[in-house]
Protein backbone atom coordinates (compact mmCIF):
# COMPACT_ATOMS: atom_id res chain seq x y z
CA UNK A 1 0.00 0.00 0.00
CA UNK A 2 1.42 3.29 -1.09
CA UNK A 3 2.37 6.05 1.29
CA UNK A 4 -0.41 8.35 0.10
CA UNK A 5 -3.02 5.71 0.60
CA UNK A 6 -1.64 4.96 4.00
CA UNK A 7 -1.83 8.57 5.10
CA UNK A 8 -5.30 8.80 3.65
CA UNK A 9 -6.41 5.80 5.69
CA UNK A 10 -4.68 7.15 8.76
CA UNK A 11 -6.67 10.34 8.51
CA UNK A 12 -9.85 8.35 7.94
CA UNK A 13 -9.09 6.26 10.98
CA UNK A 14 -8.56 9.31 13.13
CA UNK A 15 -11.77 10.81 11.87
CA UNK A 16 -13.81 7.70 12.51
CA UNK A 17 -12.10 7.35 15.85
CA UNK A 18 -13.11 10.84 16.85
CA UNK A 19 -16.75 9.93 16.35
CA UNK A 20 -16.38 6.79 18.42
CA UNK A 21 -14.64 8.88 21.06
CA UNK A 22 -17.52 11.33 21.34
CA UNK A 23 -19.99 8.53 21.94
CA UNK A 24 -17.66 6.51 24.13
CA UNK A 25 -17.32 9.38 26.58
CA UNK A 26 -21.03 9.25 27.36
CA UNK A 27 -20.88 5.52 28.07
CA UNK A 28 -17.89 5.88 30.31
CA UNK A 29 -19.34 8.72 32.35
CA UNK A 30 -22.61 6.96 33.05
CA UNK A 31 -20.79 3.76 33.90
CA UNK A 32 -18.46 5.63 36.23
CA UNK A 33 -21.35 6.92 38.34
CA UNK A 34 -24.07 4.33 37.99
CA UNK A 35 -22.04 1.25 37.08
CA UNK A 36 -24.54 0.86 34.28
CA UNK A 37 -23.98 0.16 30.59
CA UNK A 38 -26.46 2.52 29.01
CA UNK A 39 -27.51 0.37 26.07
CA UNK A 40 -29.70 3.16 24.80
CA UNK A 41 -26.80 5.58 24.52
CA UNK A 42 -25.93 4.64 20.96
CA UNK A 43 -29.48 5.40 19.90
CA UNK A 44 -28.97 9.04 20.85
CA UNK A 45 -26.91 9.28 17.69
CA UNK A 46 -30.04 8.48 15.74
CA UNK A 47 -32.17 10.86 17.76
CA UNK A 48 -29.81 13.71 17.07
CA UNK A 49 -29.69 12.98 13.36
CA UNK A 50 -33.45 12.91 13.01
CA UNK A 51 -33.87 16.00 15.15
CA UNK A 52 -31.50 17.84 12.84
CA UNK A 53 -33.30 16.57 9.75
CA UNK A 54 -36.66 17.68 11.03
CA UNK A 55 -35.26 21.01 12.12
CA UNK A 56 -34.09 21.66 8.59
CA UNK A 57 -36.91 20.05 6.62
CA UNK A 58 -39.92 20.74 8.80
CA UNK A 59 -39.05 24.05 10.37
CA UNK A 60 -36.80 25.35 7.63
CA UNK A 61 -34.12 26.27 10.12
CA UNK A 62 -30.67 26.93 8.77
CA UNK A 63 -28.17 24.29 9.76
CA UNK A 64 -26.36 26.43 12.27
CA UNK A 65 -29.61 26.63 14.26
CA UNK A 66 -30.88 23.17 13.59
CA UNK A 67 -27.68 21.37 14.53
CA UNK A 68 -27.17 22.94 17.96
CA UNK A 69 -30.87 22.58 18.71
CA UNK A 70 -30.73 18.93 17.78
CA UNK A 71 -27.74 18.45 20.03
CA UNK A 72 -29.46 20.17 22.93
CA UNK A 73 -32.60 18.14 22.31
CA UNK A 74 -30.50 14.99 22.45
CA UNK A 75 -29.08 16.09 25.76
CA UNK A 76 -32.61 16.51 27.03
CA UNK A 77 -33.58 13.06 25.76
CA UNK A 78 -30.65 11.68 27.71
CA UNK A 79 -31.96 13.19 30.93
CA UNK A 80 -35.42 11.89 30.15
CA UNK A 81 -33.99 8.44 29.58
CA UNK A 82 -32.48 8.42 33.04
CA UNK A 83 -35.64 9.69 34.69
CA UNK A 84 -37.89 7.17 33.01
CA UNK A 85 -35.84 4.03 32.76
CA UNK A 86 -33.06 4.17 35.34
CA UNK A 87 -34.03 6.38 38.24
CA UNK A 88 -36.88 4.15 39.41
CA UNK A 89 -34.42 1.27 39.58
CA UNK A 90 -31.67 2.88 41.66
CA UNK A 91 -32.11 0.30 44.41
CA UNK A 92 -32.91 -2.64 42.17
CA UNK A 93 -30.55 -5.49 41.31
CA UNK A 94 -28.13 -4.74 38.48
CA UNK A 95 -29.69 -7.17 36.08
CA UNK A 96 -32.94 -5.19 36.19
CA UNK A 97 -31.13 -2.02 35.19
CA UNK A 98 -29.46 -3.74 32.27
CA UNK A 99 -32.77 -5.15 31.09
CA UNK A 100 -34.36 -1.73 31.41
CA UNK A 101 -31.56 -0.26 29.33
CA UNK A 102 -32.09 -2.84 26.61
CA UNK A 103 -35.83 -2.22 26.70
CA UNK A 104 -35.33 1.52 26.47
CA UNK A 105 -33.03 1.08 23.50
CA UNK A 106 -35.51 -1.07 21.63
CA UNK A 107 -38.31 1.28 22.51
CA UNK A 108 -36.46 4.28 21.13
CA UNK A 109 -35.53 2.49 17.94
CA UNK A 110 -38.99 1.16 17.23
CA UNK A 111 -40.74 4.33 18.25
CA UNK A 112 -38.56 6.11 15.73
CA UNK A 113 -39.49 3.45 13.19
CA UNK A 114 -43.16 4.02 13.83
CA UNK A 115 -42.78 7.80 13.61
CA UNK A 116 -40.50 8.19 10.62
CA UNK A 117 -41.37 5.02 8.72
CA UNK A 118 -39.05 2.42 7.32
CA UNK A 119 -37.67 4.38 4.40
CA UNK A 120 -34.17 5.73 5.08
CA UNK A 121 -33.98 9.50 4.98
CA UNK A 122 -31.08 11.27 3.38
CA UNK A 123 -29.32 13.72 5.65
CA UNK A 124 -29.13 17.22 4.21
CA UNK A 125 -25.44 17.91 4.45
CA UNK A 126 -24.68 21.64 4.29
CA UNK A 127 -22.27 23.04 1.73
CA UNK A 128 -19.96 24.09 4.50
CA UNK A 129 -19.15 20.49 5.28
CA UNK A 130 -18.97 19.20 1.78
CA UNK A 131 -15.73 20.66 0.47
CA UNK A 132 -12.84 18.50 -0.46
CA UNK A 133 -9.30 19.61 0.24
CA UNK A 134 -6.51 18.65 -2.09
CA UNK A 135 -3.01 18.25 -0.69
CA UNK A 136 -0.81 16.75 -3.32
CA UNK A 137 -2.26 13.32 -4.04
CA UNK A 138 -4.52 13.39 -1.04
CA UNK A 139 -8.20 14.08 -1.32
CA UNK A 140 -9.51 14.94 2.10
CA UNK A 141 -13.11 15.70 2.83
CA UNK A 142 -13.24 18.71 5.06
CA UNK A 143 -15.58 16.80 7.32
CA UNK A 144 -12.77 14.40 8.06
CA UNK A 145 -10.85 17.27 9.61
CA UNK A 146 -13.76 18.88 11.38
CA UNK A 147 -14.71 15.72 13.26
CA UNK A 148 -11.51 15.35 15.28
CA UNK A 149 -11.45 19.09 15.85
CA UNK A 150 -14.99 19.04 17.13
CA UNK A 151 -14.16 16.12 19.37
CA UNK A 152 -11.13 17.87 20.75
CA UNK A 153 -13.03 21.04 21.53
CA UNK A 154 -15.93 19.24 23.14
CA UNK A 155 -13.77 16.91 25.17
CA UNK A 156 -11.63 19.76 26.42
CA UNK A 157 -14.80 21.58 27.40
CA UNK A 158 -16.01 18.51 29.21
CA UNK A 159 -12.72 18.00 31.01
CA UNK A 160 -12.88 21.60 32.12
CA UNK A 161 -16.31 21.03 33.59
CA UNK A 162 -15.33 17.79 35.25
CA UNK A 163 -12.11 19.03 36.77
CA UNK A 164 -12.56 22.72 37.30
CA UNK A 165 -16.13 23.14 38.47
CA UNK A 166 -17.89 22.16 41.67
CA UNK A 167 -20.45 20.15 39.78
CA UNK A 168 -17.65 18.26 38.15
CA UNK A 169 -16.04 17.57 41.47
CA UNK A 170 -19.32 16.18 42.73
CA UNK A 171 -19.49 13.93 39.68
CA UNK A 172 -16.04 12.60 40.35
CA UNK A 173 -16.88 12.05 44.00
CA UNK A 174 -20.05 10.20 43.09
CA UNK A 175 -18.19 7.89 40.78
CA UNK A 176 -15.69 7.07 43.51
CA UNK A 177 -18.15 6.49 46.31
CA UNK A 178 -21.81 6.78 45.55
CA UNK A 179 -23.11 6.31 49.07
CA UNK A 180 -20.78 8.67 50.83
CA UNK A 181 -21.41 11.40 48.29
CA UNK A 182 -25.09 11.11 48.95
CA UNK A 183 -24.55 11.20 52.69
CA UNK A 184 -22.63 14.43 52.28
CA UNK A 185 -25.82 16.10 51.19
CA UNK A 186 -25.00 16.37 47.54
CA UNK A 187 -28.09 16.06 45.41
CA UNK A 188 -27.20 12.91 43.54
CA UNK A 189 -30.16 13.05 41.21
CA UNK A 190 -28.99 16.38 39.86
CA UNK A 191 -25.44 15.13 39.47
CA UNK A 192 -26.66 12.08 37.62
CA UNK A 193 -28.87 14.20 35.41
CA UNK A 194 -25.88 16.40 34.65
CA UNK A 195 -23.83 13.35 33.76
CA UNK A 196 -26.47 12.19 31.34
CA UNK A 197 -26.83 15.67 29.92
CA UNK A 198 -23.14 16.03 29.21
CA UNK A 199 -22.71 12.52 27.83
CA UNK A 200 -25.82 12.76 25.68
CA UNK A 201 -24.87 16.15 24.33
CA UNK A 202 -21.56 14.79 23.16
CA UNK A 203 -23.33 11.82 21.63
CA UNK A 204 -25.66 14.26 19.91
CA UNK A 205 -22.72 16.09 18.40
CA UNK A 206 -21.29 12.76 17.33
CA UNK A 207 -24.64 11.92 15.78
CA UNK A 208 -24.65 14.98 13.57
CA UNK A 209 -21.11 14.29 12.42
CA UNK A 210 -21.96 10.69 11.77
CA UNK A 211 -25.04 11.66 9.79
CA UNK A 212 -22.97 13.92 7.58
CA UNK A 213 -20.43 11.19 7.03
CA UNK A 214 -22.98 8.45 6.32
CA UNK A 215 -26.01 10.37 5.12
CA UNK A 216 -28.55 7.53 4.93
CA UNK A 217 -30.48 7.76 8.19
CA UNK A 218 -32.68 4.99 9.56
CA UNK A 219 -33.84 4.26 13.12
CA UNK A 220 -31.13 1.67 13.66
CA UNK A 221 -28.02 3.62 12.72
CA UNK A 222 -27.02 3.98 16.35
CA UNK A 223 -26.80 0.28 17.07
CA UNK A 224 -23.43 -0.77 15.67
CA UNK A 225 -21.58 2.50 16.33
CA UNK A 226 -23.02 2.38 19.83
CA UNK A 227 -21.52 -1.02 20.48
CA UNK A 228 -18.24 -0.04 19.00
CA UNK A 229 -18.14 3.09 21.12
CA UNK A 230 -18.78 0.95 24.15
CA UNK A 231 -15.92 -1.31 23.17
CA UNK A 232 -13.79 1.79 22.81
CA UNK A 233 -14.74 2.86 26.31
CA UNK A 234 -13.79 -0.54 27.70
CA UNK A 235 -10.57 -0.49 25.75
CA UNK A 236 -9.64 2.85 27.22
CA UNK A 237 -10.62 1.87 30.71
CA UNK A 238 -14.26 2.23 31.52
CA UNK A 239 -14.85 5.19 33.78
CA UNK A 240 -11.99 7.23 32.36
CA UNK A 241 -12.94 10.09 30.05
CA UNK A 242 -9.48 10.38 28.59
CA UNK A 243 -9.43 6.61 28.25
CA UNK A 244 -12.67 6.67 26.28
CA UNK A 245 -11.22 9.23 23.90
CA UNK A 246 -8.04 7.25 23.45
CA UNK A 247 -10.02 4.06 23.05
CA UNK A 248 -12.20 5.70 20.42
CA UNK A 249 -9.23 6.76 18.32
CA UNK A 250 -7.51 3.41 18.72
CA UNK A 251 -10.62 1.54 17.65
CA UNK A 252 -11.23 3.84 14.69
CA UNK A 253 -7.67 3.46 13.48
CA UNK A 254 -7.71 -0.28 14.06
CA UNK A 255 -10.91 -0.71 12.10
CA UNK A 256 -9.82 1.36 9.12
CA UNK A 257 -6.34 -0.07 8.96
CA UNK A 258 -7.46 -3.69 9.21
CA UNK A 259 -9.83 -3.21 6.33
CA UNK A 260 -7.18 -1.33 4.36
CA UNK A 261 -4.53 -3.98 4.92
CA UNK A 262 -6.79 -7.00 4.46
CA UNK A 263 -9.54 -5.93 2.09
CA UNK A 264 -10.74 -9.51 1.79
CA UNK A 265 -11.89 -9.37 5.38
CA UNK A 266 -13.90 -6.18 4.98
CA UNK A 267 -17.16 -8.00 5.70
CA UNK A 268 -15.86 -8.98 9.08
CA UNK A 269 -15.02 -5.46 10.20
CA UNK A 270 -17.74 -5.40 12.81
CA UNK A 271 -16.73 -8.77 14.16
CA UNK A 272 -13.19 -7.49 14.65
CA UNK A 273 -14.37 -4.92 17.11
CA UNK A 274 -16.05 -7.60 19.20
CA UNK A 275 -13.03 -9.83 19.00
CA UNK A 276 -10.94 -6.93 20.20
CA UNK A 277 -13.33 -6.61 23.12
CA UNK A 278 -12.93 -10.23 24.08
CA UNK A 279 -9.17 -9.91 23.91
CA UNK A 280 -9.23 -6.83 26.12
CA UNK A 281 -11.53 -8.45 28.65
CA UNK A 282 -9.34 -11.52 28.73
CA UNK A 283 -6.02 -9.82 29.15
CA UNK A 284 -6.57 -6.36 30.53
CA UNK A 285 -10.13 -5.86 31.68
CA UNK A 286 -9.41 -2.53 33.28
CA UNK A 287 -8.41 -1.15 29.91
CA UNK A 288 -5.66 1.27 29.10
CA UNK A 289 -6.33 3.75 31.86
CA UNK A 290 -7.39 1.57 34.78
CA UNK A 291 -10.02 1.94 37.49
CA UNK A 292 -13.79 2.40 37.08
CA UNK A 293 -13.85 5.90 38.49
CA UNK A 294 -14.48 9.10 36.56
CA UNK A 295 -11.01 10.39 36.00
Amino acid sequence: MGATLFVQQLINGVSLGSLYALIAVGYTMVYGILRLINFAHGDLLMVSAYAAIYGILLFSLPWFFSFPLAIIATGAVGILLDRAAYKPLRQAPRISLLISAIGASFLMENLALVIVGGVPKPFPRPEFFSHVIQAGDLHIQVLTIYSPLMTLVLVLGLLYIVFKTRAGKAMRAASQDFETTRLMGINLDRIIALTFLLGSTLAGAGGIMWAMKYPQINPFIGVIPGFKAFIAAVLGGIGSIVGAVIGGFVLGLFEILIVALLPGLAEYRDAFAFLLLIVVLLFRPTGIMGEPVIQ
Binding site: L98, I99, F106, L113, V114, F227, E267, A271, L277, L281
Partner: protein, 350 residues
Amino acid sequence: MNDKLKFCLNIGTLFLLFGVIFLFGRYGSGYQIRILNDIGIFITLAVSYNLVNGVCGLLHLGPNGFIAIGAYTSALLSMTPAEKELNFILDHVIWPLSVIQLPFAVSLLAAGFMAALFAFFISFPVLRVRGDYLAIVTLGFGEVVRVLCNAGQSVTNGPLGLKGLYPHTNLWWSWGVAALAVIVIKKLIDSNYGLAMKAIREDETAARAMGVDPFRRLMLAFLISAFFSGIAGGLLAHLITTISPGLFTFVLTFNLLIIIVVGGLGSTTGAVIGAVLFAWGGEALRIVERPMQMGSFTIPGIPGMRMVIFSLILMLVILFARKGIMGRRELSWSFLASKFAELKGTQTHQ
Protein backbone atom coordinates in the same frame (compact mmCIF):
# COMPACT_ATOMS: atom_id res chain seq x y z
CA MET B 1 -48.24 -35.41 48.88
CA ASN B 2 -46.09 -38.42 48.23
CA ASP B 3 -43.73 -39.05 45.35
CA LYS B 4 -45.78 -41.85 43.83
CA LEU B 5 -48.81 -39.64 43.49
CA LYS B 6 -46.76 -36.85 41.98
CA PHE B 7 -45.27 -39.29 39.51
CA CYS B 8 -48.71 -40.52 38.47
CA LEU B 9 -49.96 -36.97 38.09
CA ASN B 10 -46.96 -36.10 35.94
CA ILE B 11 -47.43 -39.10 33.69
CA GLY B 12 -51.12 -38.28 33.49
CA THR B 13 -50.38 -34.74 32.44
CA LEU B 14 -48.00 -35.94 29.76
CA PHE B 15 -50.64 -38.26 28.37
CA LEU B 16 -53.14 -35.44 28.42
CA LEU B 17 -50.68 -33.22 26.61
CA PHE B 18 -50.03 -35.77 23.93
CA GLY B 19 -53.72 -36.39 23.60
CA VAL B 20 -54.26 -32.73 22.92
CA ILE B 21 -51.38 -32.69 20.46
CA PHE B 22 -52.84 -35.64 18.65
CA LEU B 23 -56.23 -33.96 18.36
CA PHE B 24 -54.80 -30.72 17.07
CA GLY B 25 -52.57 -32.58 14.70
CA ARG B 26 -55.57 -34.35 13.24
CA TYR B 27 -58.25 -31.72 13.37
CA GLY B 28 -56.55 -28.40 13.88
CA SER B 29 -56.37 -25.67 11.26
CA GLY B 30 -53.08 -24.74 9.61
CA TYR B 31 -53.03 -21.52 11.58
CA GLN B 32 -53.57 -23.26 14.92
CA ILE B 33 -50.91 -25.83 14.18
CA ARG B 34 -48.43 -23.14 13.29
CA ILE B 35 -49.04 -21.25 16.51
CA LEU B 36 -48.76 -24.44 18.53
CA ASN B 37 -45.47 -25.29 16.87
CA ASP B 38 -44.22 -21.79 17.66
CA ILE B 39 -45.27 -22.16 21.27
CA GLY B 40 -43.53 -25.51 21.56
CA ILE B 41 -40.27 -24.21 20.19
CA PHE B 42 -40.39 -21.08 22.30
CA ILE B 43 -40.99 -23.14 25.40
CA THR B 44 -37.77 -25.02 24.74
CA LEU B 45 -35.94 -21.76 24.09
CA ALA B 46 -37.37 -20.00 27.11
CA VAL B 47 -36.75 -22.79 29.57
CA SER B 48 -33.14 -23.22 28.50
CA TYR B 49 -32.53 -19.47 28.48
CA ASN B 50 -34.03 -19.20 31.95
CA LEU B 51 -31.50 -21.73 33.20
CA VAL B 52 -28.64 -19.34 32.59
CA ASN B 53 -30.28 -15.97 33.16
CA GLY B 54 -32.79 -16.84 35.82
CA VAL B 55 -31.31 -19.68 37.83
CA CYS B 56 -27.64 -18.77 37.52
CA GLY B 57 -28.28 -15.05 37.47
CA LEU B 58 -26.03 -14.28 34.50
CA LEU B 59 -27.11 -11.76 31.91
CA HIS B 60 -26.40 -13.86 28.83
CA LEU B 61 -27.29 -11.91 25.71
CA GLY B 62 -26.11 -14.30 23.06
CA PRO B 63 -28.69 -17.10 22.73
CA ASN B 64 -29.36 -15.97 19.15
CA GLY B 65 -25.89 -17.22 18.32
CA PHE B 66 -26.56 -20.70 19.61
CA ILE B 67 -29.95 -20.87 17.96
CA ALA B 68 -28.33 -19.88 14.67
CA ILE B 69 -25.62 -22.49 15.05
CA GLY B 70 -28.24 -25.14 15.70
CA ALA B 71 -30.43 -24.04 12.83
CA TYR B 72 -27.62 -24.07 10.29
CA THR B 73 -26.11 -27.31 11.55
CA SER B 74 -29.40 -29.11 11.39
CA ALA B 75 -30.29 -27.66 8.00
CA LEU B 76 -26.95 -28.40 6.39
CA LEU B 77 -27.03 -31.98 7.63
CA SER B 78 -30.62 -32.79 6.72
CA MET B 79 -30.62 -31.36 3.21
CA THR B 80 -29.80 -33.71 0.37
CA PRO B 81 -26.68 -32.98 -1.65
CA ALA B 82 -28.95 -32.06 -4.55
CA GLU B 83 -30.84 -29.52 -2.47
CA LYS B 84 -27.58 -28.01 -1.35
CA GLU B 85 -26.39 -27.73 -4.95
CA LEU B 86 -29.53 -25.79 -5.73
CA ASN B 87 -29.01 -23.39 -2.87
CA PHE B 88 -25.30 -22.73 -3.12
CA ILE B 89 -25.28 -20.83 -6.36
CA LEU B 90 -22.46 -18.42 -5.61
CA ASP B 91 -19.99 -20.81 -4.14
CA HIS B 92 -19.96 -24.56 -3.78
CA VAL B 93 -20.62 -25.85 -0.34
CA ILE B 94 -17.58 -27.34 1.31
CA TRP B 95 -16.90 -31.00 1.67
CA PRO B 96 -18.14 -33.05 3.58
CA LEU B 97 -21.34 -31.08 3.66
CA SER B 98 -21.62 -31.47 -0.10
CA VAL B 99 -22.07 -35.20 0.16
CA ILE B 100 -23.56 -35.78 3.55
CA GLN B 101 -27.17 -36.24 4.44
CA LEU B 102 -28.45 -37.39 7.78
CA PRO B 103 -31.86 -38.21 9.19
CA PHE B 104 -33.68 -35.33 10.80
CA ALA B 105 -33.35 -36.68 14.34
CA VAL B 106 -29.61 -37.07 13.98
CA SER B 107 -29.29 -33.59 12.55
CA LEU B 108 -31.11 -32.23 15.58
CA LEU B 109 -28.75 -33.98 17.95
CA ALA B 110 -25.82 -32.68 15.95
CA ALA B 111 -27.33 -29.21 16.15
CA GLY B 112 -27.46 -29.45 19.91
CA PHE B 113 -23.93 -30.73 20.23
CA MET B 114 -22.53 -28.17 17.84
CA ALA B 115 -24.10 -25.35 19.81
CA ALA B 116 -22.81 -26.88 23.04
CA LEU B 117 -19.33 -27.13 21.54
CA PHE B 118 -19.32 -23.43 20.75
CA ALA B 119 -20.62 -22.73 24.24
CA PHE B 120 -17.74 -24.74 25.64
CA PHE B 121 -15.15 -22.67 23.86
CA ILE B 122 -16.59 -19.30 24.67
CA SER B 123 -17.11 -20.27 28.30
CA PHE B 124 -13.49 -19.49 28.83
CA PRO B 125 -13.60 -15.78 28.04
CA VAL B 126 -17.23 -15.33 29.05
CA LEU B 127 -17.05 -16.84 32.52
CA ARG B 128 -14.00 -14.83 33.48
CA VAL B 129 -16.28 -11.85 33.92
CA ARG B 130 -19.67 -11.12 35.40
CA GLY B 131 -22.46 -8.59 35.21
CA ASP B 132 -22.34 -6.04 32.45
CA TYR B 133 -19.13 -7.36 30.97
CA LEU B 134 -20.59 -10.82 30.61
CA ALA B 135 -23.63 -9.27 28.98
CA ILE B 136 -21.54 -7.45 26.42
CA VAL B 137 -19.26 -10.38 25.66
CA THR B 138 -22.17 -12.74 25.07
CA LEU B 139 -23.88 -10.08 23.00
CA GLY B 140 -20.72 -9.80 20.96
CA PHE B 141 -20.66 -13.55 20.51
CA GLY B 142 -24.19 -13.53 19.13
CA GLU B 143 -23.22 -10.78 16.72
CA VAL B 144 -20.04 -12.53 15.63
CA VAL B 145 -22.00 -15.70 14.84
CA ARG B 146 -24.40 -13.73 12.73
CA VAL B 147 -21.58 -11.98 10.90
CA LEU B 148 -19.87 -15.31 10.31
CA CYS B 149 -23.08 -16.81 8.94
CA ASN B 150 -23.36 -13.84 6.62
CA ALA B 151 -19.82 -14.07 5.41
CA GLY B 152 -19.25 -17.81 5.33
CA GLN B 153 -20.47 -18.22 1.78
CA SER B 154 -19.26 -21.74 1.26
CA VAL B 155 -20.64 -23.04 4.51
CA THR B 156 -23.82 -21.14 5.21
CA ASN B 157 -24.55 -19.68 1.79
CA GLY B 158 -24.11 -16.20 3.23
CA PRO B 159 -26.91 -13.65 3.10
CA LEU B 160 -28.92 -15.78 0.71
CA GLY B 161 -29.49 -18.35 3.40
CA LEU B 162 -30.91 -21.79 2.91
CA LYS B 163 -34.23 -22.35 1.25
CA GLY B 164 -36.46 -25.29 0.59
CA LEU B 165 -35.85 -27.18 3.78
CA TYR B 166 -38.11 -30.13 4.28
CA PRO B 167 -40.77 -29.30 6.89
CA HIS B 168 -39.86 -32.09 9.27
CA THR B 169 -41.05 -30.18 12.29
CA ASN B 170 -44.51 -31.15 13.40
CA LEU B 171 -46.36 -30.92 16.69
CA TRP B 172 -44.83 -34.13 17.98
CA TRP B 173 -41.32 -32.87 17.45
CA SER B 174 -41.80 -29.37 18.80
CA TRP B 175 -43.81 -30.45 21.82
CA GLY B 176 -41.84 -33.62 22.38
CA VAL B 177 -38.63 -31.66 22.62
CA ALA B 178 -40.36 -29.03 24.73
CA ALA B 179 -41.60 -31.64 27.18
CA LEU B 180 -38.17 -33.24 27.34
CA ALA B 181 -36.46 -29.90 27.88
CA VAL B 182 -38.84 -28.87 30.63
CA ILE B 183 -38.57 -32.20 32.43
CA VAL B 184 -34.85 -32.57 32.18
CA ILE B 185 -33.99 -28.97 33.01
CA LYS B 186 -36.46 -28.86 35.88
CA LYS B 187 -34.90 -31.99 37.31
CA LEU B 188 -31.49 -30.39 37.10
CA ILE B 189 -32.68 -27.23 38.81
CA ASP B 190 -34.37 -29.20 41.58
CA SER B 191 -31.25 -31.23 42.20
CA ASN B 192 -28.19 -30.27 44.18
CA TYR B 193 -26.75 -29.00 40.90
CA GLY B 194 -29.52 -26.45 40.76
CA LEU B 195 -28.83 -25.50 44.36
CA ALA B 196 -25.20 -24.86 43.51
CA MET B 197 -26.22 -22.63 40.62
CA LYS B 198 -28.67 -20.69 42.77
CA ALA B 199 -26.01 -20.35 45.44
CA ILE B 200 -23.68 -18.78 42.90
CA ARG B 201 -26.47 -16.40 41.99
CA GLU B 202 -27.11 -15.47 45.62
CA ASP B 203 -23.53 -15.03 46.76
CA GLU B 204 -20.71 -16.30 44.63
CA THR B 205 -18.03 -15.81 47.25
CA ALA B 206 -19.96 -17.78 49.83
CA ALA B 207 -20.65 -20.48 47.26
CA ARG B 208 -16.95 -20.81 46.56
CA ALA B 209 -16.28 -20.97 50.26
CA MET B 210 -18.67 -23.91 50.52
CA GLY B 211 -16.77 -25.82 47.85
CA VAL B 212 -18.72 -24.89 44.72
CA ASP B 213 -16.58 -24.30 41.63
CA PRO B 214 -18.39 -21.46 39.85
CA PHE B 215 -16.63 -21.98 36.55
CA ARG B 216 -17.60 -25.62 36.19
CA ARG B 217 -21.13 -25.10 37.42
CA LEU B 218 -21.85 -22.09 35.24
CA MET B 219 -20.28 -23.74 32.24
CA LEU B 220 -22.59 -26.70 32.73
CA ALA B 221 -25.63 -24.43 32.70
CA PHE B 222 -24.26 -22.65 29.67
CA LEU B 223 -23.67 -25.89 27.76
CA ILE B 224 -27.06 -27.37 28.56
CA SER B 225 -28.76 -24.13 27.61
CA ALA B 226 -26.85 -23.98 24.34
CA PHE B 227 -27.63 -27.65 23.62
CA PHE B 228 -31.37 -27.15 23.82
CA SER B 229 -31.21 -23.80 22.07
CA GLY B 230 -29.39 -25.49 19.23
CA ILE B 231 -32.00 -28.20 18.93
CA ALA B 232 -34.74 -25.60 19.02
CA GLY B 233 -32.90 -23.81 16.26
CA GLY B 234 -32.97 -26.95 14.19
CA LEU B 235 -36.69 -27.33 14.84
CA LEU B 236 -37.24 -23.71 13.87
CA ALA B 237 -35.32 -24.16 10.64
CA HIS B 238 -37.45 -27.11 9.60
CA LEU B 239 -40.63 -25.32 10.56
CA ILE B 240 -40.21 -22.18 8.55
CA THR B 241 -38.15 -24.04 5.92
CA THR B 242 -36.05 -20.97 5.11
CA ILE B 243 -33.26 -19.61 7.21
CA SER B 244 -30.95 -16.68 6.78
CA PRO B 245 -28.59 -14.75 9.05
CA GLY B 246 -31.18 -11.99 9.37
CA LEU B 247 -33.37 -14.33 11.40
CA PHE B 248 -30.89 -14.59 14.24
CA THR B 249 -30.27 -11.02 15.27
CA PHE B 250 -30.30 -9.51 18.73
CA VAL B 251 -34.06 -9.08 18.31
CA LEU B 252 -34.42 -12.79 18.89
CA THR B 253 -32.48 -12.50 22.13
CA PHE B 254 -34.59 -9.53 23.09
CA ASN B 255 -37.77 -11.56 22.59
CA LEU B 256 -36.44 -14.34 24.78
CA LEU B 257 -35.52 -11.80 27.40
CA ILE B 258 -39.05 -10.44 27.45
CA ILE B 259 -40.41 -13.96 27.77
CA ILE B 260 -38.41 -14.90 30.82
CA VAL B 261 -38.69 -11.52 32.50
CA VAL B 262 -42.45 -11.38 32.09
CA GLY B 263 -42.76 -15.00 33.13
CA GLY B 264 -40.54 -14.52 36.12
CA LEU B 265 -36.76 -14.61 36.09
CA GLY B 266 -35.74 -17.90 37.68
CA SER B 267 -38.99 -19.78 37.33
CA THR B 268 -39.31 -22.62 34.83
CA THR B 269 -43.09 -22.43 35.07
CA GLY B 270 -42.78 -18.72 34.41
CA ALA B 271 -40.68 -19.36 31.33
CA VAL B 272 -43.35 -21.69 29.97
CA ILE B 273 -46.10 -19.19 30.68
CA GLY B 274 -44.06 -16.40 29.12
CA ALA B 275 -43.41 -18.49 26.02
CA VAL B 276 -47.09 -19.28 25.58
CA LEU B 277 -48.08 -15.65 26.05
CA PHE B 278 -45.42 -14.43 23.68
CA ALA B 279 -45.93 -16.89 20.86
CA TRP B 280 -49.65 -16.52 21.05
CA GLY B 281 -49.83 -12.83 21.87
CA GLY B 282 -47.09 -12.06 19.41
CA GLU B 283 -49.22 -13.54 16.69
CA ALA B 284 -52.24 -11.69 17.95
CA LEU B 285 -50.31 -8.46 17.98
CA ARG B 286 -49.47 -8.77 14.34
CA ILE B 287 -52.81 -7.19 13.66
CA VAL B 288 -51.56 -3.81 14.73
CA GLU B 289 -49.15 -3.89 11.88
CA ARG B 290 -51.81 -4.62 9.31
CA PRO B 291 -54.66 -2.36 8.27
CA MET B 292 -57.80 -2.90 10.31
CA GLN B 293 -61.39 -2.36 9.36
CA MET B 294 -63.49 -0.65 11.96
CA GLY B 295 -66.90 0.15 10.59
CA SER B 296 -66.31 2.45 7.68
CA PHE B 297 -62.80 3.42 8.79
CA THR B 298 -59.62 1.71 7.82
CA ILE B 299 -56.95 2.10 10.43
CA PRO B 300 -53.66 1.81 8.62
CA GLY B 301 -51.19 -0.78 9.79
CA ILE B 302 -48.15 0.60 11.54
CA PRO B 303 -44.97 -1.30 10.98
CA GLY B 304 -42.81 -1.46 14.07
CA MET B 305 -45.78 -1.03 16.39
CA ARG B 306 -45.52 -4.59 17.54
CA MET B 307 -41.98 -4.09 18.76
CA VAL B 308 -42.97 -0.84 20.43
CA ILE B 309 -45.61 -2.70 22.37
CA PHE B 310 -43.18 -5.45 23.28
CA SER B 311 -40.61 -2.94 24.45
CA LEU B 312 -43.23 -1.15 26.50
CA ILE B 313 -44.31 -4.40 28.09
CA LEU B 314 -40.74 -5.20 29.00
CA MET B 315 -40.16 -1.74 30.43
CA LEU B 316 -43.39 -1.77 32.40
CA VAL B 317 -42.68 -5.18 33.85
CA ILE B 318 -39.11 -4.37 34.79
CA LEU B 319 -40.05 -1.01 36.29
CA PHE B 320 -43.21 -1.92 38.13
CA ALA B 321 -43.45 -5.69 38.39
CA ARG B 322 -39.87 -6.80 38.31
CA LYS B 323 -40.62 -10.29 39.51
CA GLY B 324 -42.85 -11.01 36.56
CA ILE B 325 -45.78 -13.38 36.77
CA MET B 326 -44.26 -16.17 38.83
CA GLY B 327 -41.29 -14.48 40.49
CA ARG B 328 -39.04 -17.39 41.35
CA ARG B 329 -41.90 -19.63 42.34
CA GLU B 330 -42.88 -22.78 40.57
CA LEU B 331 -46.25 -24.35 40.07
CA SER B 332 -46.21 -27.70 41.78
CA TRP B 333 -48.66 -30.48 42.57
CA SER B 334 -48.23 -29.87 46.30
CA PHE B 335 -49.18 -26.24 45.82
CA LEU B 336 -52.24 -27.15 43.78
CA ALA B 337 -53.22 -29.80 46.30
CA SER B 338 -53.04 -27.36 49.18
CA LYS B 339 -55.11 -24.83 47.25
CA PHE B 340 -57.63 -27.54 46.52
CA ALA B 341 -57.73 -28.49 50.19
CA GLU B 342 -58.27 -24.85 51.15
CA LEU B 343 -61.18 -24.65 48.76
CA LYS B 344 -62.70 -27.85 50.10
CA GLY B 345 -62.18 -26.58 53.63
CA THR B 346 -64.07 -23.36 53.02
CA GLN B 347 -66.87 -25.25 51.33
CA THR B 348 -67.44 -27.58 54.27
CA HIS B 349 -67.52 -24.60 56.60
CA GLN B 350 -70.39 -23.22 54.65
